[in-house]
């Protein structure tokens, strides 16, 4: 190992794989840390052989070649790949990770390329806490990685292109889909349609998903105004209200998601500035267009920077790696850079159109009933939050967390944090950005108390 600390890539999803491969092909030897046992991340996860045949046609053309390219470079020792390795903490000079053996090890770093991806935006629907309610990503992972479904009859409730894709994938694998209930109105989609032409392949995939669902006779509802999950001990049905009807669909599982938000914990620990963008209705890390953060040596790519999907993430990974090479004074093909930047614009246009086609249903979140649980880890209801805001004049989410325990459980506010922020803002009568966001603390992922410090010398 050379004396120079390594270039670290965190995450081996589409962005991380592309960044690492680009760096390796330029003659560097990046170290890649990824939680999963195999590369691909969430978007480009390698399917379980038992499910690969029915799911193959949904896979982006880029997924398999990207995995192969990454694995080949890792086999040849040009990428130092650490699968099953979860990053738990990072400082300006050292990164800490929990390895597959249960030991915590650390390494210094010279450059960091962070590709931690996005996490689902969850909305606490009435009755969402009994067993049988899954995030959409969880349901999709079960199908792709374990070749099993979260239920015999699954309802898909939420909004976003992934809702439709996951429902169609379930149909293709022979799982009964009870209903697809999307809060976006048909009009939202039609208004965005011309701009969606920016990515004909993905538009075509979306249309194909709706066709698969129609052929399978799946009830499809748009413009959903209220949704509730029925069942005390476990999920029995979903009740869906639109302007025209209120209907109940029997099911034994619900997959739900209202979009994706960037995972910012590692950026937060490094003090990368994080800003609220009213247009996205969420918080984003500050970067230049090529993924450089204001913190020296820290680069960002993929859905953690901007949620644009797997293909855009792969492109961002490559672009970020090229920018890093430029910073190191390495020669970079300017034509390649120019092409990537043009492509990036196209992806950005498409992502903006998708955001218009599937807007976040803020009205549903504002209508959360007092007795609905917001933080399921700690069992904190909307009433507790609203009362704390009144009793202690709380105007900030970390304060609300300290007083109520909302966001103190296993998810550390990753799921309930955005909802808590909106409830506090509304109860206080201020804008979302005024109440801030939850501060990140290590460990970024839960750390088993049995974890030991690795005996051996640190890697670098």
């Amino acid at each position: 190992m050379s004396a120079e600390p390594p270039i670290l890539v965190v995450g081996a999803g589409p962005a991380g794989m592309a960044a690492a491969a680009t760096l390796a092909e330029a003659g560097l030897r990046p170290m890649v840390l990824d939680k999963a046992p195999s590369p691909g991340g969430q978007g480009w996860r390698a399917p379980n052989p038992a499910a690969s045949a029915p799911l193959a046609s949904f896979d982006s053309d880029g997924a398999e070649p990207a995995r192969e390219r990454f694995l080949e470079l890792a086999r040849r020792g040009r990428i130092d790949w650490y699968p099953g390795t979860t990053v738990i903490d990072v400082t300006r000079d050292r990164l800490w990770a929990l390895g597959p053996s249960g030991e915590v090890d650390s390494t210094t770093w010279s450059r960091l390329v962070l590709c931690p991806g996005a996490i689902e935006r969850i909305l606490p629907l009435p009755g969402w806490t009994p067993p049988g309610v899954y995030t959409l990503g969880g349901a999709q992972t079960a199908l792709k990685a374990q070749a099993c479904a979260v239920g015999r009859r699954v309802a898909f409730v939420g909004t976003g292109p992934l809702l439709w894709l996951a429902a169609a994938q379930h149909v293709a694998c022979g799982v009964e889909v009870a209903v697809v209930a999307d809060t976006a109105r048909l009009g939202d989609g039609l208004a965005a349609a011309p701009a969606l032409l920016a990515d004909r392949d993905r538009l075509r995939l979306g249309l194909r998903c709706t066709r698969i669902l129609r052929r399978a006779g799946v009830p499809v509802l748009r413009g959903v105004r209220a949704a509730a999950i029925v069942g005390e001990q476990r999920v029995e049905a979903v009740r869906i209200a639109t302007n025209r009807s209120e209907r109940t669909f029997a099911c034994d599982a619900v997959a739900t998601s209202f979009g994706l938000v960037p995972q910012l914990q590692l950026l937060d620990l490094l003090d990368v500035p994080i800003r609220f963008e009213p247009e996205g209705g969420s918080w984003f890390a500050e970067t230049d267009p090529d993924g450089r953060t204001p913190v020296r040596g820290v680069h960002l790519a993929g859905d953690a920077a901007r949620v644009r999907g797997a293909a855009a993430a792969a492109l961002a990974g490559e672009l970020t790696a090229l920018a890093l090479l430029e910073d190191l004074g390495r020669p970079v093909d300017t034509a390649r850079l120019a092409r990537l930047r043009r492509e990036r614009h196209r992806h950005a246009r498409f992502a903006r159109a998708l955001a218009r086609a599937f807007p976040f249903p803020a009205a549903l979140e504002d209508a959360i009933a007092d007795d609905t649980i917001v933080c399921r880890c700690e069992g904190i209801t909307a009433r507790v939050l609203r009362e704390a805001v009144r009793a202690f004049e709380v105007g900030e989410v970390n304060r609300a967390k300290a007083l109520t325990r909302c966001g103190m459980g296993r998810c550390q506010g990753r799921f309930c944090g955005p909802t808590m922020a909106r409830l506090v803002a509304r109860a206080r009568g201020v804008d979302l950005d005024a109440v801030g966001r939850l501060r990140s603390q290590p460990p970024v992922e839960p750390l088993p108390a049995r974890a030991r410090l690795a005996e051996a010398e640190p890697v670098a």
Binding site: I88, D89, T91, W96, V104, S106, A391, F392, E396, R399, A402, L403, M408, G409, R410, Q412, Q441, P442, P443, P446, L447, P448, A449, R450, A451, R452, L453
Partner: protein
């Protein structure tokens, strides 16, 4: 520039000490303003371990600690809400004969202050708390000690003080202090200027900086505790646990979470930021697994730190300034002020209003460090 405010007492710092002082003054109908640069309880007062123990304290702190313990017992009535104080007892463990001798010495001396503890041998420890790990030479159990929720306690004192008539200005730091005919004229961020007869320095880690505004120097350093919390486990560890000497301390709350402390994180008083260190957290876990082996099954969800002031003798600075009339200090609690703070507020109010207190502060006076004044700028 906004208008000038006049008050009897200006309290600088909205930690538990400042808020308790404001409450004690307000209860005696004394006009009082508290200024806090961030939010009340934002720093050490809100993020500390939550220990409420007398066991193991320096004897100089015991009169104050005894008074504090009485206040903790009726805190809910005092502030109008449960601070989650529970007298769970505090168990202090000795690893060897020397540490055991220290437990015995402390128990003997503390008896003079009416603090009772039970000394237990290894067999008694194992019988009473079967989840304890092996290898302890003995322990001392103080049944009246306990624990409370620090995240709630300071906001509760602040709210109670406000309800009793104290004025609390958050988000306002002190910029300058000058003497005036009435006492002090204090400039704060965003105005107004405040004129007060008495000034209380309850600024915690920033206590020396506030003292410096009046020309006094104190030899304090800044420390950052390193805290961890686990996912809930079945509730078994009822007493608050600590070791002789420094080391790991831990407690479990009835909802199941285990809170661990030990070692140090890093803090920067200028940016007011602190951070736990993973290397410290791992060392804490290794030690905690020796104390309660079952904790190996726990999952750590979060670590955190805070900023505290520490004096060279590990004792707080409490009482009137030896040089500046009308100035009272209460800072430098050196990592164990949470338990004392309610009594500190009560005693300061007595010193300010009556000129004396029945509770002894011997050994804690600011004068012990008054070696030299700063040269006025």
């Amino acid at each position: 520039m906004s208008a000038r405010l006049e008050t009897e007492v200006l309290v600088v710092g909205g930690g538990l000490v400042g808020c308790a002082t404001a409450l004690a003054l307000a209860r005696r109908r004394t006009p009082c303003i508290l200024v806090e640069r961030d939010r009340c309880g934002a720093h050490a007062s809100g993020v500390n371990y939550g220990g409420v123990r007398r066991q193991g304290r320096a004897l100089a702190e015991l009169p104050l600690a005894n008074r504090a313990r009485r206040l903790w017992g009726r805190l809910e009535r005092l502030v109008g809400h449960d601070s989650e104080f529970r007298a769970t007892g505090h168990l202090r463990l000795a690893r060897d004969a020397a540490e055991l001798a220290e437990l015995e010495r402390w128990a003997r001396e503390a008896r003079r202050f009416d603090v009772r503890c039970e000394l237990l041998g290894p067999a008694e420890l194992a019988a009473r708390w079967p989840w304890l790990g092996p290898g302890f030479a003995g322990g001392s159990f103080c049944p009246d000690d306990g624990q409370a929720n620090p995240r709630l306690t300071t906001p509760l004192f602040a709210r109670a003080a406000r309800e009793q008539g104290a004025r609390i200005l958050e988000g306002r730091g002190v910029i300058a202090v000058e003497r005036s005919s009435r006492g002090f004229r204090v400039a704060i961020e965003g105005g107004p200027e405040i004129e007060a007869r008495v000034l209380v320095n309850g600024a915690g880690a920033w206590g020396p900086a506030v003292a410096a505004l009046s020309g006094e120097a104190f030899p304090a350093e800044v420390i950052a505790p390193n805290m961890l919390v686990s996912e809930p486990l079945p509730y078994r560890i009822v007493p608050n646990l600590g070791m002789v000497g420094s080391g790991v301390y831990l407690r479990q709350i009835p909802s199941g979470s285990v809170i661990f402390g030990g070692g140090r994180g890093v803090a920067d008083p200028l940016t007011r930021r602190s951070r736990p260190l993973t290397i410290t957290s791992l060392a804490t876990l290794a030690e905690a697994r020796r104390i309660v082996p079952d904790l190996a099954r726990a999952t750590i969800l979060r670590t955190w730190s805070g900023i505290e002031g520490r004096m060279p003798d590990d004792l707080p600075v409490i009482g009137p300034s030896p040089r500046v009339p009308g100035l009272f200090h209460a800072f430098g609690f050196s990592g164990h002020g949470f338990m004392l703070a309610p009594a500190v507020g009560a005693v300061l109010a007595e010193l300010i209003l009556d000129g004396h207190s029945a509770t002894s502060l011997a050994g804690l006076e600011p004068g012990r460090f008054a070696t030299g004044a700063l040269v006025a700028a």
